[in-house]
Every structure is written in C-alpha cells, then in structure tokens.
C-alpha cells in the first residue's frame, strides 16, 4: 500500500520566545514493512541539523530558531510504501541490545493493578511460547483499559491509566510495556502514523503502539488500542522507553510563554489524500 502523510505541528506563543530548539524523530526508517518514496521536513525560519541515525535505528534531527519567534510550524509530508509483515519488524537496522528494554521509567513503572493483570493473564501460561504470552498480555490490556479520548493526558503514567481503566493509544502502549517487563519480555514504545480511514475522511492519524521482543522472531508490534498487530496501514517513526522518550518532537523554548499547540495529521492511501 502506498500511504501519503501530511503532518503539521504549529506552536503559537502568547508572547514571542527567545528561541526554540527541538529534536525531531519524524522520518520513517526503512524496513521490510515500510519504504520511503519521498519525505520532507520543512520548518520555516529554522536551522535544521543533518539527520542522524541513532542506535535504535531512528532518524533524529535537530531544529532550532535563535531569533525571537511568536510561532513555529513543522510540516512533514511524504509518501511511504508499506507492506504487511504481520507486525514483525524485519530489516530494521539497529544496535541496541533488546535486553536494554527491560527497564522501566516513571511512566512504565507497574502498580499493583498491573501486576495483578499480568498474573491473571499469565496464569498457567508460564510455559507457553513467548509470542502467545505477548498476545495474551496485549489482549488483557485492551480489556482492562477502555479506549476513551480525554480520560488521560500526555503525562499520564501506565499506573494512572490502569487505575483510570481508560485512556488512548499512548496509555495502552505504556501499560502493555509495563506488563511485558513484568513477564520478562523486553518491550518499547513506538510512535507513528495510522491510516484508519476506510472512507477517506479526515481523522486523527498520529498513533502509538508497543513492540515486544520475542526471541527468535525479533521485535513485534502490538497495538492493544486496536487489538491487532501493525499492518500495511501503519507507518513507524521511532521508538523509546516510553511516550516521552519516543516523542516525535521533543522541544524546549527559551524564555517560555503560554503556548498553543495545533496539530493536524492526514494519512491516506495515495490518490485519496486530496479529499480533505
């Protein structure tokens, strides 16, 4: 499938700020699941660093504005050819040993409810193949955390989302990471895009899911929010220990002021992208 992406992120400041610096993880890396046909990042008025490929195989790029600015707009547009690999991340060049992804952050630290969820899901399954256990955990998370936009915020931890019993894709991913770690499986957070429209109508297409490492198979994506594994409708941007670590844009303003954030993401099969 060929997907087109148009992703605009616009920050507007109540008063001009002294400067802006961001680290972008907004360029898909090549794997058997995806191939970039064309891609561009445009930030008017900013200086862009040369993209670097980090140890996790993601493209990272610095963007900065040193003069006082009242706004900054990051526009990403491109076309990606995707292939369904049943969620398996193959042909992705990376250097981080999977076992480094067994550590928790504040956002993926389990609480009692999460460990209970894992015990329940893993009951009598200790000897089951790792892949089966990963699927069971993903299903348990989908069951325990209802999809409910607005129930959580960008800073919600896995434990909080679990207590709330509701959240969005970010929460599903972080709860699943916490669960996988408890079950001894390396897991990480993935940020990307999802083409979820059958009829071509605009929708919120920024997405997140978890990857769990299965010995012998490698990293496999699990989208608990949609109860499936990533397929040709998914574009993978980058990974990290949690939502913050994997954020497509990590930024800082100098002499901060109130900011207003406006994000629009359009992902559609080629030929339908003009229907916005």
């Amino acid at each position: 499938m060929i997907l087109t992406v148009l992703h605009k992120t616009r920050y507007e400041f109540a008063a001009p700020v002294g400067g802006i610096i961001q680290s972008l993880r907004l360029t898909p890396a090549k794997s058997e699941s995806q191939r970039v046909l064309d891609w561009s990042i445009d930030v008017p008025g900013a200086v862009l660093g040369t993209p670097l490929r980090d140890g996790a195989g993601d493209y990272v790029q610095t963007v900065s504005v040193r003069s006082p600015s009242a706004q900054i707009e990051v526009t990403v547009s491109g076309t990606v050819e995707t292939t369904d690999t049943a969620g398996i991340l193959r042909g992705h060049r990376e250097r981080v040993p999977p076992r480094a992804y067994l550590r928790n952050t504040v956002r993926t630290e389990p609480n009692r409810a999460i460990s209970d969820l894992v015990s329940e899901a893993m009951k009598a399954k200790d000897d089951a193949p790792a892949l089966e256990r990963a699927h069971l955990l993903a299903a348990a998370v989908a069951e325990a955390v209802a999809y409910k936009p607005g129930a959580t915020s960008a800073h919600t931890t896995a434990a909080e989302a679990m207590t709330e019993g509701a959240g969005v894709c970010q929460d599903h991913a972080q709860v699943l990471i916490a669960c996988a770690h408890l079950a001894g499986l390396p897991a990480r957070y993935v940020a990307g895009y999802l083409n979820a429209t059958e009829d071509g109508s605009p929708h919120e297409a920024s997405h997140a899911w978890a990857e769990i490492h299965i010995e012998g198979l490698g990293w496999i994506g699990f989208d608990a929010a949609n109860k499936c594994c990533p397929n040709e409708h998914y574009i993978r941007l980058g990974s990290g220990l949690d939502a913050q670590d994997a954020a497509p844009i990590r930024g800082l303003v100098l002499g901060g002021s109130e900011e207003e954030l406006d994000v629009s993401v359009l992902v559609a099969p080629l030929g339908q992208s003009q229907q916005q």
Binding site: I21, S23, V60, S64, E94, R99, A100
Partner: protein
C-alpha cells in the same frame, strides 16, 4: 609484637627506605613550630578556597577537609608497578565500554552476564552503536586503591565518570612546597604539577574528526551550588580554558557553540562535570536546566566530544567491578596486575548465605552507594547495628555487595602527642586519550580517628600529600 596492619614507614625490619628522610624532619620539629605550620596550612587552604567535599559526599560545602602535613611516600619501584596496573585497568575499562556499546563480545562470550550490563541504569541506550573519537569513553579514570602489605595492593573501586579530588592532589603539593621548601630541595619528589597540561592535551586529543583546527575545549560545570565547583574553576584556570554553565552553550545545526562577547564560538570538546541525566533535556531528563538542549544530537553526529562519554558509568558500577580482572584478561590478554578485593554479590543465593553467616567480619556496601554511607563495617559495629543492617540486607539482597574487612596500611600522621599510624587509601587519576598518562601521585585520604578504617571526609577523614620518589 607485630602490628596487625602494614605500617608504610616502619615495618618489622625498621624504618622503610622511602621514609628515611622524613624521620629526622618530624623528630626535629618542635611542637610549637608544628602548630604554627598546621595553622599556616589551614590558612593557605582557606585562601585558595579549597573547601569542597570530595567524591560527592555531600555535607557542608564550606567545611575545610583536614590536611595532615606528614607526606605519604612511594618509592619509584613501588610506583612503577602501580602505574602499570592502573594503566592496564584504565585500558581494560575503556575496551569494555567500547565493546558493550558495540557488539558486546564479552557478553556473547559468556564472560559477564548480559543483564548486569544492559539492564544497568548507567547503560545509555541513546549511545548504543556510537563510537566516540579514538574509542575512548572514560578519559579520566580514578582508581581507588588500598594497600595491605609491602607488595599487596587492592582496587576498591573504579570511577569512570567524573572522578573528583584531583585539585587536592595539586593543592596538597603546592601547600607542602610553600611550607617546607627544603624537603623538596633535599628529596627528589616527582612533580605532579604537569597534570593540568596532560589533562588538556588528553581532552584536545579526542576532538571530533570534523575539527580541523586547534580544538576549543571547555569545562561544563553545574554551577556554584555544586560541591566540587571550586575544583571545576581551579582546573579550568590551570588549563587555560573556559568554565561554562549549560546556558553559556547552545546548539545550532550540527555544532555546539559558546556565547561570547565577540559572538558565538564553536566548541569541540566538553569536559563535563555534570551527570548524564542532566546533559541534554531533549535526550535525557526533560526538566534539566543544567545541560545543553540538543547536545546529544551534536555529539552523536560527531560535532562535539563529551568527556567522559555519556554512558561511561556502566563500567564503574559496583556490580560490574567484580568483572574488571576478567576484562583485563578478555580484552588485553594479560594477567591483571592489580587485584580486586574479593567480593560477594548478595544477589547470588550462595554469596548471600555466606555474607549472612559472616556478617560481623565483613564490610557490606550498597551497590550504588558512595561516600561511606549506607555501609556496614562488621568488626567495628555493635550488635544492634549489625542486626538492623541484617534486616535491610534480607529485605533487598541485590542492593548489596560484601567484602572482607581489609587490613588497610597505615602511614604516620600528626596527632597531639606527636605522630601515630593512621589508615590510608589512594586515588590516582589516569588520563586516557591518544596516550595513557599518569602523573606520579594521587590523592591520599587518611582516617584521622584512631583505629578507623573509614577515610571518607564526611566521616572524619583527611588528606595528605602523596610523594613518589623520582628515579635516579
């Protein structure tokens, strides 16, 4: 009766060679003169402003660490062996760091457990696969040593991040030379004042490949609230480089710049004295105001070198320490010259059992602890203390390691009644860049309390000038 501890000045056969010239010196020193000199030393230290706590021990930053005027002395022969051992260890630690951020051969070979490395908090995922200039991660390796016999030295721990205390080594010498110039005229004490020049040369030698000029080196400090701030400004001054705080630097495009009155100046090498977590809010802790946003991207694309390299801490963890002799054998194919203290990992069931059965004889430390806090010195503790500690150990065994109580050597130290033996340790500072360098000396810490084995300044420790007698 022989003393249970090796006395570096007097052994069973009498006065040891390195101390020969000091016997007459202290014997002929009238008490009033000594008191005068002691006051003068204190005055000099206050004037230099050297009042910080060593090794991040915390405590009152304005407190003066007691200085003992009786030097600690090594012969050139003793030093040669130490020097070989220290350099060997510094090479092995750097080889280990290069390896675990690359292919991890030592783990594949089953010589060190994967989880100990990859699950270690100090293992930085952000730099996996990245090779810093010349493959050097730890540019200043501080190795803490103790001595238990004429030829017996043990490594207590390695410090691969930003070991502090070297300003004491330099100041102690400076003060001694001002107070007792004749001692240095009569004895061939190897100078240590080349340290700053060597440090600067080491830092310049690891400038990025992209740097095609005389490298611009700066020292990045967390600021004057830091307990080692004095040392930061002292070293920057000696090296003739700028000391900067995070806000003095900025990133643009592929490089890092320093703000100056003449406009931005590109920086090639950063000798950072702040922890990984605070280096770059866009990569590590987002709430850090001490670092430079975007710095890690510049670093990883070869625009600037950070010393020590982010992630170097994984080599000096107390749980990794056990494997350093193995690193020497694995990477260098050599027999380790310096020995480790035998260590029990309480995370291992067999080791824990032994430790619990022998708790009163052992020293037990927290895996991530420092500064002599949170540790138990079995033979020096009462029953209640031991029982309380045993409960903590049982609750979280993997947080602890145990070692035998070492019979630390003693060195004569001035006390009210004259001189008396007091226990000492040693931290030399090995520099690793294009070359591996070690100035002949280090920081000797001394436990000033009679019988105490704890040399930490927060617990009654002081410092001494450390002499190496130059070769003929």
């Amino acid at each position: 009766m022989a003393e249970p501890y090796f006395n570096e000045m007097y052994d069973a056969a009498g006065l040891r060679t390195p101390y020969q010239m000091l016997e007459g010196w202290h014997q002929n020193m009238p008490a009033e003169f000594r008191a005068l000199k002691q006051a003068e030393a204190e005055d000099l230290f206050r004037r230099y402003g050297i009042t910080f706590a060593v090794y991040g021990e915390g405590g009152d930053p304005d407190r003066l660490i007691p200085f003992d005027m009786f030097p600690r002395v090594f012969t050139s022969e003793e030093w040669r062996k130490l020097e070989r051992g220290i350099k060997q260890r510094a090479r092995a630690l750097n080889a280990f760091l290069s390896d675990v951020y690359d292919r991890g051969e030592i783990i594949r070979a089953g010589r060190i457990p994967a989880d100990l490395v990859y699950r270690n908090e100090a293992y930085e995922i952000a730099v996996a696969g990245f090779r810093p200039p010349l493959g050097v991660f730890s540019h200043i390796v501080g190795i803490d040593l103790v001595r238990t016999g004429a030829d017996q030295f043990y490594v207590l721990e390695d410090n691969c991040r930003t070991p502090s205390g070297v300003s004491y080594m330099l100041e102690n010498r400076e003060v001694m030379m001002r107070m007792f110039p004749h001692l240095f005229q009569e004895n061939r004490v190897a100078p240590v004042d080349g340290y700053a020049r060597l440090l600067k040369r080491t830092l310049a030698s690891v400038a990025p490949e992209k740097c095609d000029r005389d490298p611009k080196v700066v020292l990045l400090t967390p600021g004057h609230f830091n307990s080692a701030y004095y040392e930061h400004s002292f070293l920057a001054d000696l090296m003739g480089i700028e000391m900067v705080e995070g806000q003095d630097l900025f990133v643009e495009g592929d490089f890092c710049y320093m703000r100056t009155t003449e406009g931005p100046q590109k920086v090639d090498v950063i000798y950072r004295r702040i922890d990984d977590a605070f280096l770059d809010p866009l990569c590590f802790r987002p709430d850090s105001a001490l670092g430079v946003p975007g710095l890690m991207n510049v670093y990883r694309s070869g625009g600037v070198t950070i010393c020590s390299a982010p992630g170097a801490g994984v080599a000096d963890d107390k749980a990794i320490y056990t494997y350093v002799p193995e690193m020497v054998r694995f990477y260098l194919g050599e027999a380790p010259i310096l020995e480790n203290v035998p260590t029990w990992q309480c995370a291992k069931a067999d080791d824990l059992k032994y430790v619990q059965e022998h708790i009163a004889e052992l020293v037990i430390k927290e895996v991530h602890g420092s500064g002599g806090y949170g540790m138990l010195v079995g033979p020096k503790s009462d029953k209640a203390t031991i029982e309380a500690f045993a409960a903590k150990l049982a609750a979280n065994p993997s947080n602890y390691i145990a070692q035998p109580t070492l019979a630390l050597s003693t060195c004569p130290t001035f006390v009210n009644e004259g001189i008396a033996p007091r226990h000492v340790d040693l931290r030399p500072y090995c520099l690793v860049g294009r070359d591996i360098e070690l100035v002949p000396g280090g920081l000797t810490r001394v436990a000033l309390t009679e019988g105490s084995l704890v040399v930490n300044s927060s617990q009654g420790g002081g410092v001494k000038d450390t002499w190496v007698i130059a070769e003929e």
